[in-house]
Amino acid sequence: MANVIEVENLYFEYKDGTRALCGLNLAVEEGVKAALLGPNGAGKSTLLMHLNGIHLARKGKVRVMEQEVTAKNEKWVRTVVGLVFQDPDDQVFSSTVWEDVAFGPTNMGLALSEITDRVEKALKAVRMLDYKDKPPYHLSYGQKKRVAIAGVLAMSPQVIVLDEPAAYLDPQGKMELVEILDELNRKGNTVIVATHDVDLAAEWAEQVVVIKNGRTLAQGGASLLAEESVIVEAGLCFPVVARIFQQLPELDLTHTPLTVAEAVAVIRERIK
């Protein structure tokens, strides 16, 4: 399948001279669930800003649906790629929750009835419809995060990119988030999630990209998360499931299970 997002040899330097990206490469196939992993300061957020044209590549290339992102098509890019920011306080600013979620659809120039419809659906999806008339700054952090996610869902972009979406969500909220993302994915959307949460990545992602110091360390399937060299180098840790099976060399497995489902399958087979 074609790549929806391609990043080639991307460099980025902040105004104060911090080199956030140093020759990063990345390709995400259409319709996959991809996880972007890396330690603090690896450049994940900086990279994501490039994917919807907030930062433009000065050196290197970013392509979205095979078109290079430039100042000319950045508006189009923002309708194709939706970005949920890491800090909801940056994203959520309107005086009511409803208005905030309507901000994106309004910018898209949709009809009022369509906007109402989308906002309601998005708020329902994140279970925040009851709070629609509240000012966002009176919400808890996790609630704000949900509103931020709804704000992008309401734009129904083809590619949805989330920066640390699960942080601050309660366990139930995390599971609901995963369901929302899976649902989007089933409808054919590409979903990219930046996270430190290796368990989430192991359970959920089909494609994994590991970055560090602004460079790509490794790229591949979820099995990457069981590879010692990658995990250690990236300052991550193994998923819990993998850690358990690593303590059991006597099982003599050909590959380490990563998800709960895989683990259950392996155990069930052994106890038969």
Partner: protein, 264 residues
């Protein structure tokens, strides 16, 4: 911050809340323009009574209105105190050796009432119109884009600034900073100085991130959404009532009709 400036309170189903924002802007701003040109107290009083009636029908809480009108005190108050003594004329009463003139007192009354009229009318507007609707009305009325953007960002960034200040205050408190001590206390003073500097840097950086986040959701200087391009008959009627009332007061006064005669 936002909520105290533009937050709909009261009965959402009542008259002014339902009125089309465009009509509200035109009629209430028009009302302010006409009443500011009035020069006699009975005319101004009629305007004020009319506004109170509007507020009453719209079920805006009296407490809210009084709180809003209290804003006038620091600005108008001083003038009102000084005017009677500063304007020469027939003496009305005397404090120490200062003569308060009838003319001056009259001017002070008229000035206060003009202020009351203007602030009350604009309070009705902002109390019954959400911020977004207000901006949309400005756009629909072809107010130059740059003014609308200026208002939008000012309001948005005021809350960025106050939010940031609040976060910093909490963070400071959590680590045992006492603000109760005198500002002259060396340590308090130093901390306060640094904080103000950092507050501005932090607010600046956050405003940049907020702007980025707006861009990410397709912001391109605001769009004119023609939700209801056509105005309802009821909207137009009420707008006309408000405007005609103010214009009428002005015409009566301008036409030199003697109030005492009308009142007889």
């Amino acid at each position: 911050m936002l909520e105290s400036l533009f937050y709909c309170r009261g009965n959402m189903d009542s008259l002014l809340y339902r009125l089309d924002p465009r009509v509200k802007v035109v009629s209430l701003v028009g009302f302010v323009a006409f009443t500011s040109a009035l020069g006699t107290w009975p005319a101004l009083l009629s305007g004020l009574v009319f506004l109170l009636l509007l507020a009453g029908i719209s079920r805006i809480s009296a407490f809210y209105l009084v709180k809003r009108l209290a804003w006038i005190l620091p600005f108008g108050g001083i003038l009102v105190i000084i005017l009677p003594f500063a304007v020469p004329g027939e003496p009305l009463f005397k404090i120490f050796s200062l003569n308060a003139s009838i003319e001056g007192t009259g001017q002070a009354v008229v000035l206060t009432m003009r202020l009351l009229n203007a602030v009350a009318a604009l309070s009705l507007l902002t109390a019954t119109t959400g911020f977004k609707d207000l901006m949309m009305a400005f756009r629909a009325l072809r107010v130059p884009q740059i003014f609308v953007l200026l208002i939008e960002f000012t309001v948005r960034y005021i809350s960025v600034l106050t939010d940031e200040a609040r976060r910093m205050q909490i963070a400071r408190k959590a680590r045992g900073f006492e603000k109760g001590r005198s500002l002259l206390h060396r340590c308090t003073f130093q901390v306060a100085g640094k904080l103000i500097g950092i507050l501005f840097i932090r607010s600046f950086e956050r405003s940049e991130r907020v702007y980025n986040a707006m861009l990410a959701r397709g912001y391109a200087g605001g769009v004119r959404v023609d939700g209801d391009p056509r105005l309802g008959r009821e909207d137009l009627c009420w707008g006309a009532v408000i405007l005609v009332f103010a214009a009428g007061l002005w015409l009566i006064e301008f036409g030199g009709v003697q109030w005492p005669m009308l009142l007889k």
